[in-house]
């Protein structure tokens, strides 16, 4: 029996016991589930994905008909999740950075407005905010026939927001490609400028030149592509508005709610990131005779980025996960499509598994990115 006093033996014993117990629990739950499913006559497996979905989806980014399969419907829902998250992340960053810097302003008015904004929207549940924005759009905005018209050709209605967009033309595709080429060019321009500055001390207006290159390439493609000018403007036809780009009330409510809520967290991260840079860094840079904007860009921001980027990525992931609340206001994201699917087919386990896998994949990709970033940004001490 003295083997039991050996730490190594006990460690193995504990683990064997643990695995046995866990295995028994899983086996028990699985056998219950199988017998329950048999009683309810639900077939397990993913074959339902090839059946006809037979429900409509109010907004889609790719073609979708109720006669398409469940798999396609879920794909459409996934794209909608990506769409609202992508817009949300872009605008959250912009608004969050503005409010984060504003909270550190020495202008009392600016600082108080930012503080009130952050405190209010951070302390109210996101679901309540989503429902409020949705109710507001549905109730305050008028019927399309009496649409609010704040700018010419922009219509605010309880069926959504309509804005004019340029009519499709191959030139736009070329502009996109040219802009990407421009970005690559700007990247090499920055490398060259950094190298020259390191060698000769000659500064180069990288930001302005970079934007110049990107926009210049796009403009060039626009001119070469034939300068299309046709604009698709929304107009009242029959009982509704036709044409233009229509953002549904569900999309607008979800987008506004997610952006406002997450931006308060981003603002706090930005604020503490800037505060995390010791005052001595400002003073040291100032004593070298650097300009304030130069200090901010080359001394303070790179250091606060190191502190701020990991929690920021986390917030972007949170925003994506919170977009699943779309199910409460009827925006067809992946969770609400999966919800409809499981109500129709009774395949609860499979439907939940599908959207959990999607979110898990996104989370794992994000943490991989974060690990890579942390390794790259970690302080290299001499």
């Amino acid at each position: 029996m003295e083997h039991l006093n050996d730490e190594g033996v006990r460690a193995i014993l504990y683990q064997v016991l643990f695995v046995l117990l866990a295995g028994m629990a899983v086996w028990y739950l699985a056998s219950n589930t199988i017998s329950n499913l048999e009683k309810q006559n639900v077939a397990t497996g993913f074959s339902f994905l090839n059946l006809e979905a037979a429900f409509g989806i109010s907004e889609t980014m790719v073609d979708y008909e109720p006669s398409d399969t469940y798999a396609h419907a879920l794909y459409v829902g996934f794209l909608n999740t990506v769409k609202v998250s992508a817009y949300g992340i872009i605008f959250t960053s912009i608004i969050g950075v503005i409010f984060g810097i504003a909270r550190l302003s020495h202008n009392l008015l600016v600082r108080s407005v930012a503080t009130v904004y952050v405190d209010i929207f951070r302390n109210i549940p996101i679901l309540l905010q989503l429902m409020f924005w949705y109710a507001l759009i549905i109730n305050v905005f008028p019927h399309p026939k009496k649409a609010l018209n704040p700018f010419s050709d922009v219509f605010l209605t309880n069926r959504g927001i309509y804005v004019p967009i340029p009519e499709p033309h191959p030139a736009y595709m070329w502009m996109l490609i040219a802009a990407v080429v421009g970005c690559i060019g700007a990247y090499f321009l920055k490398k060259w400028a950094d190298k020259r500055q390191a060698e000769t001390g000659q500064p180069f207006p990288t930001i302005i030149a970079g934007f110049g290159v990107v926009f210049g390439c796009a403009l060039f493609a626009y001119v070469i592509g034939g300068m299309p000018t046709a604009i698709d403007t929304p107009a009242l036809k029959g009982f509704g508005l036709r044409g233009g780009w229509n953002m549904s009330p569900e999309f607008v409510a979800l987008f506004v709610g997610l952006t406002v809520y997450t931006s308060t967290y981003v603002a706090e991260i930005v604020r503490s990131g800037i505060l995390a840079v010791p005052k001595g860094q400002w003073e040291a840079a100032e004593s070298l005779g650097l300009k304030r904007s130069y200090i901010l860009r080359h001394v303070v921001l790179p250091q606060s980025m190191r502190v701020a980027i990991p929690p920021l990525t986390n917030q972007f992931l949170n925003l994506t996960k919170n977009s699943s609340l779309a199910v409460a206001i009827g925006y067809p994201d992946i969770v609400s499509v999966a919800n409809t699917t499981m109500n129709q087919t009774g395949q609860a386990i499979e439907a939940i598994l599908i959207f959990m896998t999607v979110y898990l994949t996104l989370s794992i990709l994000t943490s991989l990115f974060m690990n890579w970033f942390n390794a790259k940004m970690a302080l290299v001490e001499r």
């Binding site: 329950n36 008015l109 302390n123 549940p125 109730n139 005779g289 699943s324 199910v327 386990i349 959990m356």
Partner: protein, 363 residues
């Protein structure tokens, strides 16, 4: 680099007078002046409108027709429905009971913030006593109190119960998960990592869907657990995963010497955890624990999606009433104010703790 001689600056403007202060803080650069003017203009336009809507033109009598005649906010909605919003479908004549229950729960929470109670036995005693009292008062069935099923519970007490008990049960699970993740037994370690990362990687709504759709499937035929318990299980597991990461932060901050010292005294693993490591680690993570309680308090509102009548649920059902439908804003503002009150005061408490706990480290 500049080669020019820099002229000495003018002496700073006195900050002592109102004009001097305004010059230094509101109008010291063109950008700041512009911002001050724009914000002041917008606020002057906006605040009177809000005040007028919320106070001066508001209707306070509990009559929807009077509200529709008025131009401002309809606080009459709250006047008419506040008992339903706060207590849900709980038997109307017994509303004092959820009210007292809420006080017991809040009392226990406030009690837990007093350092006198920061001893395991005292905390346990506090929570066992208050939970028994809460159970008696909410369910009834003895002492002449009529029995009220928990399917009838709703409103603010339900929100508080789910949030508080979610955290309470998540606490020990979170500690175990954190210890497991830090342990050097590979089987236990990988299970804990898998569980924590799985839960943290998916939205809360999917955990709630799991617990409300899948839990009945997992259990043997004939065992039926009600909606409240199912939601409670989901929320507890979700919170436990997040708390585990908070606790792990605390555990990792404990210097290795503490573990070694405990070992050299001949303490067993559990003894050293209980007496040496955990008291220090948990103390370090009190502020982030309060913060995760705040986010979980806000997240309880998601139970409305799986059909429970929490505070948000009661408000939603009030504004579904055609008579009051157009006054949705007042309903949401009322619920938002309650949530805000709780979350904001907890956030202040957490910020205060952060300063307070750091004081002892001054050396």
């Amino acid at each position: 680099m500049t080669h020019k001689f820099i002229e000495p600056k003018a002496p700073p403007i006195s900050d002592r007078s109102v004009v001097g202060w305004m010059r230094n803080n509101l109008f010291d650069s063109p950008l700041n002046t512009a911002l001050t003017i724009i914000i002041a203009y917008v606020l002057l336009q906006f605040i009177p409108l809000v005040l007028d809507w919320a106070l001066f033109s508001a209707t306070w009598v509990a009559d929807s027709d009077a509200c529709k005649a008025g131009s401002g906010a309809c606080w009459g909605l709250i006047n008419a429905k506040w008992r339903f919003i706060l207590f849900g479908t709980y038997t109307y004549d017994e509303h004092w009971r959820p009210f007292v229950g809420m006080l017991i729960l809040l009392g226990a929470c406030v009690g837990s913030t007093i350092p006198v109670f920061w001893k395991p036995m005292r905390l346990l005693l506090l929570w066992v006593v208050s939970s028994v009292l809460l159970g008696i008062i909410m369910w009834g069935g003895i002492f002449g109190l009529s029995y009220v099923e928990n399917t009838l519970w709703g409103g603010l007490p339900l929100t508080l119960i789910i949030a508080v008990y979610g955290t309470l049960f998540a606490f020990p699970i979170g500690i175990l998960l954190a210890l497991g993740r830090m342990s050097n037994l590979p089987a236990i370690k990988s299970f804990c990592i898998f569980f924590i990362e799985l839960i943290r990687g998916v939205p809360l709504i999917s955990v709630l869907f799991m617990s409300s759709f899948l839990l009945p499937l997992f259990l043997p035929d004939g065992v039926n657990i009600d909606k409240l318990l199912r939601a409670q299980v989901g929320i507890t597991l979700f919170t436990a995963a997040y708390l585990a990461e908070v606790f792990r932060g605390g555990l990792q901050a404990i210097p290795n010497g503490q573990f070694e010292a405990a070992n050299s005294l001949g303490l067993t693993y559990w003894q050293s955890m209980r007496m040496i490591i955990l008291p220090q680690a948990l103390r370090l993570v009190i502020p982030p624990t309060v913060n995760s309680f705040i986010s979980m308090f806000k997240d309880t509102s998601l139970v409305v999606i799986i059909g429970l009548m929490d505070l948000l649920g009661t408000v939603k059902s009030v504004i579904k009433d055609p008579e009051w439908r157009i006054f949705y804003a007042e309903g949401y503002v009322f619920a938002a104010a309650i949530f805000f009150f709780f979350c904001y005061s907890m956030a202040r408490y957490s910020a205060y703790l952060e300063v307070e706990l750091r004081k002892g480290e001054g050396h």
